[in-house]
């Protein structure tokens, strides 16, 4: 999968996101999450950024749970099969229309999960695009005009793995001071200092090496759009038009 153009997976994920949103179907959302998982599991390189997909899945799961709970507890009642009933929390009169608690129906549960799933699909599809593309390669195809964006990308993508490293290093040092449960604050301070100085260092290094000086950038290894890139994008286009045709 080395030869893929860095933009391919980004275009692909944007198209699928379009399909999921326009179809508004939890089936398609579920399938696309599964598909993204397989793709990342199968094709992502063994690199720091490849872990972002699994991170995005975790965030997605968290959002799904919260979204479902909130959807069940607060909002407009949907009539249907009754599952169980919660007491209604009395609210001041100026909050008319909002209701906390009440009858929980199967329909209400499903609609909450359905909306949650779509959000998870969107997040995980972006996660997949990040995981499947080397940010450094992406940087090379971004126009030099958005110079700040380039610097920010490099710093952000190298900061995350550095952050993970620093956290474990500091936690270990703290353990050694006999501090078995170091407080969040005591870790955050050295961590912030560490990552800030690293980022500044990196920005200085990029600057010293002439990044952003020339309006045009040459390429050591040409990055070309190939048949397989078109195939991936075409597949996504097909899914999008399928979604538009069937679910509308």
């Amino acid at each position: 999968m080395k030869s893929l153009h860095p933009l391919t997976w980004w275009i692909w994920s944007l198209l699928i996101v379009g399909a999921v949103i326009s179809a508004n179907s939890s089936w398609l959302a579920g399938i696309s999450i599964a598909g993204a998982t397989i793709l990342v599991w199968r094709f992502a390189a063994d690199a720091p950024w490849a872990r972002s997909f699994w991170f995005s899945l975790k965030i997605g799961a968290f959002i799904l749970i919260i979204r479902t709970l909130v959807g069940l507890l607060i909002g407009v009642p949907i009539p249907g099969t009754k599952l169980f009933e919660l007491p209604i929390l009395p609210l001041p009169s100026w909050l008319a229309g909002v209701r906390i608690g009440g009858v929980i129906t199967q329909e209400r549960l499903f609609s909450s999960i359905h909306e949650g799933l779509i959000i998870v699909a969107v997040i995980s599809l972006f996660g997949a695009a990040v995981s499947l593309t080397s940010p450094h390669k992406l940087l090379r195809v971004t126009p030099i005009v958005i110079y700040e964006f380039g610097v920010a990308t490099v710093i952000a993508t190298s900061a995350l793995p550095n952050l993970v490293q620093s956290i474990s290093r500091i936690r270990r040092a703290r353990l050694l001071r006999g501090d078995e449960n170091p407080s969040w604050r005591s870790i955050a301070l050295p961590l912030l200092e560490d990552s800030l100085s690293r980022s500044l260092e990196l920005a200085a290094a990029m600057d010293a090496r002439g990044y952003g000086v020339s309006r045009k950038r040459s390429r050591y290894r040409p990055i070309s759009w190939q048949g397989i890139d078109s195939a991936v994008v075409l597949a996504a286009v097909l899914i999008l038009s399928f979604a538009l045709a069937i679910f509308r």
Binding site: R177, S218, R221
Partner: protein, 532 residues
């Protein structure tokens, strides 16, 4: 090539003048060494050359700096990229891409150099720095020495006229350091490259320098020939201290020169009786300790014993497993097989209070241990942890660094002061064993002398053991009783410092090289041999 004319520099948040009215000129093809204590502005001086100071850091710069006729104040650092290559203190933090080849090409891509030119230059650099076999490797998997070479390569590939390096050998073992320096030496001579280099470990670089810039710390600086500067300077390699102690008329800079002057001493010096120290009880014991990281064997059946009252150095090349052994001993890593115990307690069982009182560990970055808002709050925390009298940790710290201010934030301390603070906190718990990982990285000679006397006191007077992982042979020669040598996770040598250091020329300290074949490692050894 480089011209400083009446340069003064002040940082906005500080009242201290870093440089004041500094003027000098560096000619093409010169190799200039910048020396000075920590925090005196060596890095600032280096970064002035390509304009990172003040363009990137802020600060007020007076006077004019030109490089090859271009004034650094008028252009951005990037516009000097083709003229000045800069390699930072920690190259791993400056890498922008993930593959060696792409890293080399990055700067040229930014300058829009044609692909065929680029390919040719990358090939040349790969050959020049012996990196060809690493071209497709991920940079994160390279060893420290290899990373340093990639960093130098990515600066050189732009065909700069000036190369600036900030402590290029501080993280490297003696062999890798030698490799990097000889490459630089060759570039200076073959390509007439101008090199400006800052380094604490003068013994490594002094032989290569044409001139020295000595920054005094009060803003003044002197530029002169190495012989002239080193005649008077406090900062000097062991070989110069030797010449001074012996009262030689000249300070020689190379082992060869000083050998010629000391023939008589080698012939007439008396043998120093070896002190057969009595061994205390066993403090650290490992038995067939192995540690795997996934497939990779980090440690392989390491069996050793360290007694109380002993100061032991753990040496070996970059990636030999030194840090792994240390962290296993203190109980952070789960061992794959074998056993490791400190003071009769299994390493993995060390927790909380017991751990503090059994083993003190100073990691490579002492600041990891610190999280207080001031020196005072750190010391109070340590007092509370150890249930000792309030103020006792600070009193200890005050003995190490009398000038330290209670209110200072740990971040604003100098490298040496920070190490002292971490040491004070760890020692205040009176641990049976003290373990340090690379304590002298970035330390100047003064702080190093302080560290040596502190550790000697701790081990000998309180009868505790000290284990130090280090690349610094001079430190080992001054301080340690015994050396354990690791290679590929196995113990390949273990014995008295004298025997181990003398058996390998790469790891021999400067004085030993001068005095070979007599077994004297340090200036004080030689003085004792002469005095009797």
């Amino acid at each position: 090539m480089i011209n400083f004319s009446r340069v003064s520099l002040v940082y906005p948040t500080s009242t201290k003048t870093i440089l004041e009215d500094l003027s000098f000129e560096i000619a093409e093809g010169e190799m200039v060494l910048v020396i000075g204590s920590t925090g005196t502005g060596k890095s600032s001086l280096l970064r002035l050359i390509n304009g990172l100071v003040p363009h990137h850091t802020g600060g007020i710069l007076a006077g004019d700096i030109t490089v090859d006729g271009v004034s650094t104040q008028l252009v951005r650092p990037g516009e000097l990229a083709h003229l000045v290559g800069i390699v930072g203190q920690n190259p791993a933090q400056g890498f922008v891409t993930d593959i060696v080849e792409e890293e080399l090409a990055f700067g040229m891509e930014a300058l829009n150099i044609a692909p065929d030119v680029m390919r040719k230059r990358v090939e040349e650099i790969l050959d020049l720095l012996a990196l060809a076999h690493l071209r497709n490797r991920a940079i994160s998997t390279l060893s420290g020495g290899e990373q340093q070479r990639v960093a130098i390569g990515s600066a050189l590939v732009m065909n700069p006229k000036v190369l600036v390096l900030d402590e290029p050998t501080s993280a490297l073992d003696p062999i890798a350091a030698e490799e990097v320096l000889s490459i630089l030496h060759r570039l200076v001579h073959d390509l007439s490259l101008t090199v400006v280099i800052a380094e604490h470990r003068l013994e490594r670089v002094i032989g290569f320098a044409d001139r020295i810039i000595h920054i005094a710390g009060d803003g003044s600086a002197e530029i002169n020939l190495p012989e002239e500067i080193l005649k008077r300077s406090e900062i000097a390699p062991p070989i110069v201290h030797l010449a001074r102690a012996l009262g030689l008329s000249d300070v020689g800079l190379s082992v060869r020169d000083v050998r010629r002057m000391t023939e008589e001493i080698r012939a007439n010096g008396k043998d120093i009786p070896r002190e057969a120290g009595q061994l205390g009880e066993i403090a650290i014991r490992t038995n067939k300790l192995s540690l795997n990281y996934g497939e990779k064997k980090a440690l392989n059946e390491v069996s050793t014993q360290i007694h109380s009252g002993e100061i032991v150095a753990l040496m070996g090349r970059n990636g030999a497993g030194k840090s792994s052994l240390l962290t296993t001993l203190v109980g952070i890593n789960k061992l794959s097989s074998g056993s490791s115990e400190i003071n009769g307690i299994k390493s993995v069982d060390l927790k909380g209070q017991v751990r503090r009182e059994t083993v003190g560990f100073i990691p490579q970055e002492p600041s990891d241990l610190l999280y207080g808002q001031s020196v005072q709050s750190e010391c109070q925390q340590a007092d509370k942890d150890n249930q000792s009298a309030p103020g006792s940790t600070f009193a200890l710290l005050k003995r190490i660094v009398p000038s330290i201010n209670q209110e200072t934030h740990p971040r604003d301390l100098s490298e040496g002061q920070r190490l002292a603070l971490a040491l004070a906190i760890v020692i205040s718990a009176q641990p049976k064993v003290l373990i340090l990982d690379e304590p002298t990285r970035g330390l100047d000679y003064q702080s190093k002398a302080l560290l040596i006397s502190l550790l000697k006191n701790f081990a000998k007077e309180l009868n505790r053991s000290v284990l130090i992982a280090t690349h610094d042979v001079e430190l080992v020669a001054e301080l340690c009783d015994r050396v354990i040598f690791l290679a590929e996770g196995e113990v390949v040598a273990d014995g008295p410092t004298l025997d181990i250091l003398l058996s390998s020329p790469a790891f021999a300290p400067q004085v030993a090289k001068v005095m070979s074949p007599r077994p004297w490692l340090t200036v004080s050894d030689v003085m004792r041999a002469v005095a009797e």
